[in-house]
Symmetry: C2
Subunit: 335 residues, 2 copies
Amino acid sequence: MSGDFGPRVTVPAALQALASNPKLKLLLVGLPDIISPLLVNIDAELLSRLQVVPAEQVVANDAKPSQAIRASRGTSMRVALDLVKSGEARACVSAGNTGVLMGLSKLMLKSIDGIERPALMTVLPNLEQQKTVVLDLGANVNCNSRMLVQFAIMGSVMAEEVVGMVNPRVALLNIGTEESKGLDNIREAATILKNIPTMNYIGYLEGDQLLTGKTDVLVCDGFAGNVTLKTMEGAIRVILSLLKSSDGQKRRFSWLLKIVKKWLQKRMTKRFGHLNPDQYNGACLLGLYGIVIKSHGAANEHAFKAAIEQAVQAVERQVPDRIAARLETALPKSD
Amino acid sequence: MSGDFGPRVTVPAALQALASNPKLKLLLVGLPDIISPLLVNIDAELLSRLQVVPAEQVVANDAKPSQAIRASRGTSMRVALDLVKSGEARACVSAGNTGVLMGLSKLMLKSIDGIERPALMTVLPNLEQQKTVVLDLGANVNCNSRMLVQFAIMGSVMAEEVVGMVNPRVALLNIGTEESKGLDNIREAATILKNIPTMNYIGYLEGDQLLTGKTDVLVCDGFAGNVTLKTMEGAIRVILSLLKSSDGQKRRFSWLLKIVKKWLQKRMTKRFGHLNPDQYNGACLLGLYGIVIKSHGAANEHAFKAAIEQAVQAVERQVPDRIAARLETALPKSD
């Protein structure tokens, strides 16, 4: 029950998710005194699938991961992950501090054999009316070539098993398409990926291809992934803001402006609805023996519900098992 | 006379630049047999300010920098940089291989005392109707904290002396705004920047702030800079393409679509004309004892002329001298 707005966003979102998923059961981890008042006058059937699990503390948004992890006992994040570890819960959804969630998840749920560090993954829409799996989005600011290869395998599994693609294309994000371009770890990863028979590796792509649909899976380190995702979101917001009437000269056309803006937003919603952070909210922390979904800290009700839905989907598709199975065949066993 | 399209783009662009800058003189370095036919029936006054300097070879676009630099003798890029070194030219404009241009420029023109490696810089428009100096855009894929600090100083000089800002704000591109976020080199650079009295350092900014005008100078390593610039360009292109009539259902509104598209483009041109790569083409290679402008390889006539204009401006504002002077005061002398 963390995030920038706490239970007043996450509790209504949980209730919405229960309403649209008749088999779903949710454990709300947090301060009962704050959560309980939000559960009065709620439909009894929904309440029967809801349980409040007390946690007295919360991880601060600006906490330093290493310190916060050491002092995590009793926090809602730790309690929630404990529930996943013990099998009482099948997934954990959190809008809390990304670094702490990542570190604590790894500590408690352990990485799948063959995965050095889990990665944050999201699914973006693209111009070809398909979807692109992008990872890592910020869990790992430093990645070696092996990690990039592991991300590629996990992204490939997601594209096949969750998005439903056949033989998904996998590309590495780089600053040029020639083989000699970029950082050593990227070039080394390219060499490894070319030699994995089950991998449909297509080469390097640059940032301007993020939304064009030239690949089904785009792999990068967490720093580049975060920069490219945020830049894309920022550019889209800037263009939409251009449509707002602001300069005096144009005031006489403000009615036209309103129509155009509405029309464009409708058109964008239709083709790029997923670009709205509310729609695709919920990055999946891939590579753990357990399902952890990271929501935007600033998520609203609708967005937090989307993150819960992602968790439901990951449970249904048995994402960790499928990744573990693929790693068995794709990578030679490490000693 | 390099780039994807060679002299058939660069020669007409050169003639245009001569026509709009009455004091400008240009040396065209390349194969005389290819350049000369493009100079027939040209105004005599323009021709009097133009000189063809023969070069028999050209650096390949996909050349590996280290090899290409060793084998650079006789190439148009090397000859042009020789002219800058000897003082016969005041600046070099090239649409050639970035890595080779960067390496060869450093080898021949030398870095300014206090600059470890030159950086590629461009000036972007922003939502506040101002401009943002962004560097590095791809010259250095690996940067230590000292290099980032040097980029910050060079960017600050550009913002003051070329863009005309007073006490420009300087930010580091990062994946969060909290002090603990990001890579070690960025955090170390932040610590150094805070302690430079002449520096108006404002902290970290994320990729979604690239166009919002929250800073006047945005500093990053060349990998992140390239990713963020390309992603921004790509997102803008995608949104513009959304405005293209494509889905059948809407065909009956195609006339409206055309009007809207034209109107939006006009509005965007007015406020974000510089986002058109043709308008801001020409990244300045900052930090050398000499002026080198890198044009997009795929630049058209208009875009290549913009790169020549950048060179003219850099010569007039004496960019290298001003950077050298600022380094004297901002940084303690290295031993």
